[in-house]
């Protein structure tokens, strides 16, 4: 498997070729899904690595996002005497935008980079080639399990993130700043709709982001030049490309789902 892009000098053509290769790589990944069922244990191991191991950072960040959001909203809304609406705004902001986007950015930094670096080093040390020699399909054994793990892990991580953000908002708003507990929850439940906010906002967006981030991470790993410099470069590229893709896709998805 050698999906490396041919060298071009023009930046535009180069990035177009990159996107095209990435799309082709996605097809290869999807086709390899049935074959990777043999390696379901590997998928579970990757899920543990990208999902369970990311829980700490996701939970801490979610908590602080909720807390700071509530603090800011409280200060602004107290001008209008409507601080009781701040819980509702925290919930909507987190469910619709901050939850999926921040989780995806953290996921790209925490899990995407290590996927790229791991696969890149496998390439650099010829482990991928060795697998092919041993008649083990590297796409089905290395790429697809990581891709699937990212796809499954992201929505779950996003749910945890949102729950922690609500908890943080509650902590600051109700416990510290004295917003009424019942008002906090009743305002929230009055505006949050399961379909538009939780299914479309939290679950669908994070599923798409999970797919995009893990695709980019695996693709960068597989196409990295087999040198230590190349691995470093590919890792950086994973973060940059993932972040841009997440934020651009977030706008597109929001526009479509609204």
């Amino acid at each position: 498997m050698n999906a490396r892009a041919p060298q071009h000098n023009n930046v535009v053509i180069q990035s177009l070729a990159q996107i095209g290769n990435c799309g082709l790589f996605l097809l290869t990944l999807l086709v390899a899904i049935p074959r990777s069922f043999r390696y379901v244990r590997e998928t579970v191991r990757q899920l543990w690595f990208v999902g369970a191991m990311s829980l700490t950072i996701i939970m801490v960040c979610g908590l602080f996002i909720g807390m700071v959001l509530m603090l800011q909203l409280y200060n602004v809304l107290s001008i209008f005497g409507s601080t009781s609406a701040s819980g509702m705004v925290v919930a909507l902001a987190v469910y619709r935008e901050l939850g999926p986007v921040v989780t995806a950015l953290l996921f790209a930094g925490r899990a995407g980079t290590s996927i790229t670096a791991e696969i890149g080093l496998m390439r650099a040390t010829d482990q991928i080639d060795a697998m092919e020699m041993m008649a083990v399909d590297p796409i089905a054994y290395v790429a697809t399990p990581r891709f699937l793990a990212g796809l499954i892990a992201m929505p779950l991580l996003c749910c945890v993130f949102c729950a922690m953000a609500i908890f943080g908002g509650h902590l600051v708003g109700v416990t510290w700043l004295g917003i009424d507990n019942g008002t906090f929850w009743s305002n929230m439940t009055a505006v949050v709709v399961v379909h538009t906010d939780i299914v479309n906002g939290v679950l669908f967006k994070s599923l798409v982001f999970g797919a995009v981030v893990s695709l980019i991470a695996v693709f960068q790993g597989f196409t990295t030049p087999p040198t230590s410099e190349g691995v470093a470069y590919a890792t950086t590229r994973t973060v940059v490309a993932s972040s841009i893709a997440i934020l651009a896709l977030d706008f597109v998805l929001t526009a479509f789902l609204m």
């Binding site: 579970v44 899920l47 005497g81 749910c159 729950a163 939290v202």
Partner: protein, 290 residues
Amino acid sequence: MSQQRSSYAVGTGLFIVLGFAALAYLATQTSSVANVHQGASYSVDAHFTNIGQLKERAPVKIAGVRVGQVQSITLTPGQEVADVKLAIDKRYDAIPQDSVATIFTSGLLGDQYVGIEYGSSKQMVAAGGTLSRTKSSQPLEEMLGKFFGAGGVTDNIGGTYVVKADFTNVGTLSAGAPVKMAGVVIGSVQSVRADPVKLNAQVVLAIDKRYDTIPDDSSAAVFTSGLIGSQYVAIQPGGSPDALKDGDEMILTQSAMQLEDLIGKFLVNGSSSDKKDAGDGKSDTPAGKH
């Protein structure tokens, strides 16, 4: 190796369970109605003709202090009153039977809550009892309507009779504006037009037939409801034994005031009444009085 694998599996399983637990939390606690745990409470019914924006779990307050929350809001089919169940903390179990439950709004744009004002009855409302005296939420439209004086134009149930009045200045008075006596709407302005001969404004007032004993020396004035409200015609009864009849003309009129006059009047009146009511050091009131 298998030991290590099974620890991966356990960790992954825990992660998945946690993720789904978080999802369930989001879907049930923050989006649909769920019961927040509260201390021991008892429930009291209150019936309102209009609950406005009151929501379940909105606070219930006595003297501004939260004592419970709204448990449920239901509407019995075929009835026009909403049945609001209030869950009140057991500690506050001495609420007189004749207390008044009112739906208030915190601030102008704030949330609504139920305020309970104590009555004087010796009998306390029991768990499951009903607070029979309630004041419903005031819809903003109604309040604004009252404020602008345009909300309560009577439907001409018993027919109207027509009275003319000449003003030198009607301000922004327009057809359809209310005609009030003692602040109560008794009719409406039928037409406003300039008199080509007398060069003043001739206003035709349609007054409800029920009010047929208005003295014929009563005066009509163009007033403004509030500082920025719309204008209406106020009738100040005179002392004549004869009543106004259909087609009569009111001689005594007071025209609309210019905004400058109005503000001047408002400031002077407002401050002098302040002084009378509160007397809390507002000694810098203007001396001029009307």
